[in-house]
Structures are given as structure tokens and as C-alpha cells.
Amino acid sequence: MSAPLTPLDQPGTSDSLSTEKIKQILEAALLTTQEPLPIAELRKLFNQELSAALLSNLLEEMRAQWRHRGVELVTVASGWRFQTTAEMQPYLDRLTPQKNPRYSRAVLETLAIIAYRQPVTRGDIEEIRGVGVSSSVLKTLTARGWIDAVGHRNVPGKPALFATTQHFLDDLNLRSLEELPPLEEMRSLIDASERNQDLPLEEPEEAPNR
């Protein structure tokens, strides 16, 4: 398995390594390092002085041995490194931890307002939420393709009117907006928790918005 290394350039060092062992060490070093390793760096692995030519030959041998596997040994600008083949990518992509990112409360509330009260301007949203709506919130929802500007309200400043899109319905598995949780149901939900405050939602325009 391990032919003794012909002493090319290491004059009788005490720990003379077989080529097999040298390759093992090179392989271990390259597999543990994500950064490419130049030959000059790889030489540091050994006590004895190994010529760059020798290492280069061994690396070429290793490269051949690793061919037709999911990982290949390649040379890039700054040296040698192992990397996965393109063929593996679709499989490995399935593994990459699907982080569960969450939208902020501002994003969700804005979305809810747009969904239930569309079309609405940013001002409407701010009025309902009682706080300002940052552009990034609307940008997030627009970028996601869940809302878009469907027009402008004909008031000074011509604010954009936002509505939810078909894509939003698709992503939430809804056929139409009517499949959103109905407001009545939620009203009773609120009423249940705040039973004694008689503030019926169906107030006759007591507080005209804006």
C-alpha cells in the first residue's frame, strides 16, 4: 500500500514518509481547509523538505483519484482546494438549512391592512396602525410580489394606492380574498376578550378617517 518515498530531496530525515502517507496528509489538510492552499503552504505540513515538484505530482495523482466523485480537487488562482462538483449542487441545496425567517410585526400588520382594506395609501395604513410605516416595509411586500400600487388617490401628493396581488393569494393558498378569515369572526374574538367595552365595530361613521 505504501511504497517508501525515494529520497529525492530529504537527506535522511528521521521521519521519512511514504508517498502514500504524504498524500494522506495533503488530503487531510486540503479537506479541512476551505481556503485554497498554495504548494508553498502545503510544504509547511512536513518536517522534511519536500520539493514543490514532488508535491505537485502527488496532487495531480490525487486529482485523478478523486475524479468521478461528488467532490473534486481543483487548482484555483491561490492554490489547491477540494470543492463539490456542479452535479452535486441540486442535492446539496436541499440540505442547506431552510432558515425560518419571519416577517416583523410591522410587515404583517401592514399586509393585513392592505389585504382587508384595499386599496389603501400609506397614510391610511399609518392612520390605522397609529404609527409610521417605513418604506422598507412596503418595499419588502412589493419585492415579495404580494402587494402592488394599483393607482393613486386624487389628493395632494397623489399617494399610491396599494392592493394585494394574485400572487399573494397563490402564496397563501387562497382562491380569493373572501377566503381570508372573515372580519366578523375576528370581531367576536375581540369582543370575547373585551366583552365589557361597548365599542361596537359597526359604529356609524363616528370617526371618519382622515
Binding site: T32, Q34, T84, Y103, K158, L161, A163, L174, E178, A207
Partner: protein
């Protein structure tokens, strides 16, 4: 390094001594094990005296550690004094209680953990004794986007409503959702067009309910000044145009 041969450590070796021993328990354990002192034979007085000396030396910069040694000293004195006293032979006393028992228990437990720590340290340890493999891989993974479900939306809306109830001037009025949806649809239909014929806003496939809702949506849009409905003569063509800035 000079390891204490007995209980006395010369003052100039104190720093080394403090580095060598983790605390009074460790020192006591060392003395007992290394010098084969039976805990029984420990000359308590001498040991106590020397502990007091260490404490005096440590008091300046290692107050907390000094306190630990002081505590041990106190404990040793207590054990010694109790052992010197004749044990009262009361009838109710079940078993003669060895005053050293608790200290011995602690010493043994500490020794056990000390040994365990050494054995743990002998186990192969990542980074120290082996390296974990990690091959370079192109990160092509698209940034995954948050998903929401109906409950998230419902929750958001409930929160808004609850807040709106507190801030009375931020009333949220109830409205038929479908009208709102059709309002958006009508605006979409009008987008990019000069004006649209009224009838074109209704889908030929629409159900009666849809027609009604669409009609309500158009009225609502007009009320909110989002669209303008015009008719040049009675029974003539009705045109709808968006009042957008466009």
C-alpha cells in the same frame, strides 16, 4: 516547581502555590493523598496555623480566595474541637457521628470530579486532536423568504383592531371584504387606460353576486374620489376613469 512537602509553603512560593492548587479542598486533598496523611492524623493545629498564615498573605490581593481558605480553616478547627470533646452518650443518639464525615465526603467528591476532569481532557477533542472536514461549496442557495399563513394575518389584524379600539379616533370600520377586493380589481383594470367603458368593468362571466359587488366597488371608489364616473347624456355611455396622477 516546588510542591509543598508538608503544610508549610514559603511566602515567596505563594504565587506558584496558588496556581497549583484550585483551592483549600484541593490543597487538603493533595496533602492527604501525596503524603499519605490519614485524615485522622492530620495535625489540625499545625495545619490550621499554616492556613492562617496563607490567609494573611492572600488577604491583600486575593480576598475571595483567602476567604475560602479561611472557611476551610474554620471548618478544620471545628472538626478538631469536636473530636477532642467527649461525645455525649445520649440514648437517643443512633450512630456515633464522625465530625470528619462531611469533610471527607466533600474531599472524595472533589477528587472524583478532579479525576473525571483529567479523563475528559484525555478524550480526543475537536480542533485540538482532530479537525472537522469542510470542503468548499459554492453558496448558490437563494435567500429563503419568510412564509406566512392565515393565522399570522388574522393575528396581525386582531392586534390592529384591538389597538384601534383603544385609540378611539382610529376607528376601523367593518366592511364587506369582497367590495374591497373588487375595488382593487377595478383600479387594476383602469390602470394605464384613459378611461374605460362602464360595462367593461364587469366580467361577462360574472355571477350576479359578483356583478353586485363590482358595482358596489365602483360606487365606493367614486365616493372615495378614486375614480370619476361620467355620462355625457342621459342613457348615454358611461365612462369610468381613474383619478390617478398617472
Amino acid at each position: 516547581m516546588e510542591i509543598p512537602q508538608d503544610l508549610y509553603i514559603p511566602p515567596d512560593a505563594l504565587e506558584v502555590f496558588l496556581d497549583t492548587f484550585q483551592g483549600p479542598l484541593d490543597l487538603l486533598l493533595y496533602l492527604i493523598r501525596k503524603h499519605n496523611l490519614e485524615i485522622l492524623d492530620i495535625p489540625m493545629a499545625e495545619l490550621t496555623k499554616q492556613y492562617m498564615a496563607y490567609v494573611a498573605m492572600m488577604r491583600v490581593d486575593q480576598l475571595e480566595l483567602a476567604a475560602e481558605y479561611l472557611l476551610m480553616t474554620a471548618l478544620l478547627i471545628e472538626i478538631k474541637s469536636r473530636m477532642l470533646l467527649p461525645s455525649p452518650k445520649t440514648e437517643t443518639q443512633e450512630e456515633e457521628h464522625d465530625p470528619r464525615a462531611e469533610l471527607v465526603r466533600r474531599l472524595l467528591e472533589y477528587e472524583q470530579m478532579k479525576k473525571a476532569a483529567m479523563r475528559l481532557n484525555e478524550l480526543p477533542q475537536a480542533e485540538r486532536d482532530f479537525a472537522v472536514i469542510q470542503v468548499w461549496m459554492e453558496q448558490t442557495v437563494a435567500q429563503s423568504l419568510p412564509n406566512i399563513n392565515l393565522d399570522d394575518l388574522r393575528h396581525a389584524w386582531v392586534t390592529i383592531l384591538a389597538r384601534a379600539k383603544i385609540n378611539r379616533h382610529h376607528q376601523v370600520k367593518r366592511e364587506t371584504l369582497s367590495v374591497r377586493a373588487y375595488m382593487s380589481q377595478v383600479l387594476r383594470d383602469l390602470r394605464g387606460q384613459e378611461q374605460v367603458e362602464f360595462y367593461d368593468l364587469f366580467s361577462p362571466m360574472a355571477t350576479v353576486a359578483e356583478v353586485v359587488v363590482t358595482f358596489l366597488a365602483i360606487l365606493e371608489l367614486a365616493k372615495e374620489l378614486l375614480i370619476e364616473i361620467s355620462q355625457s347624456q342621459a342613457f348615454g355611455m358611461i365612462y369610468v376613469r381613474s383619478l390617478n396622477a398617472a
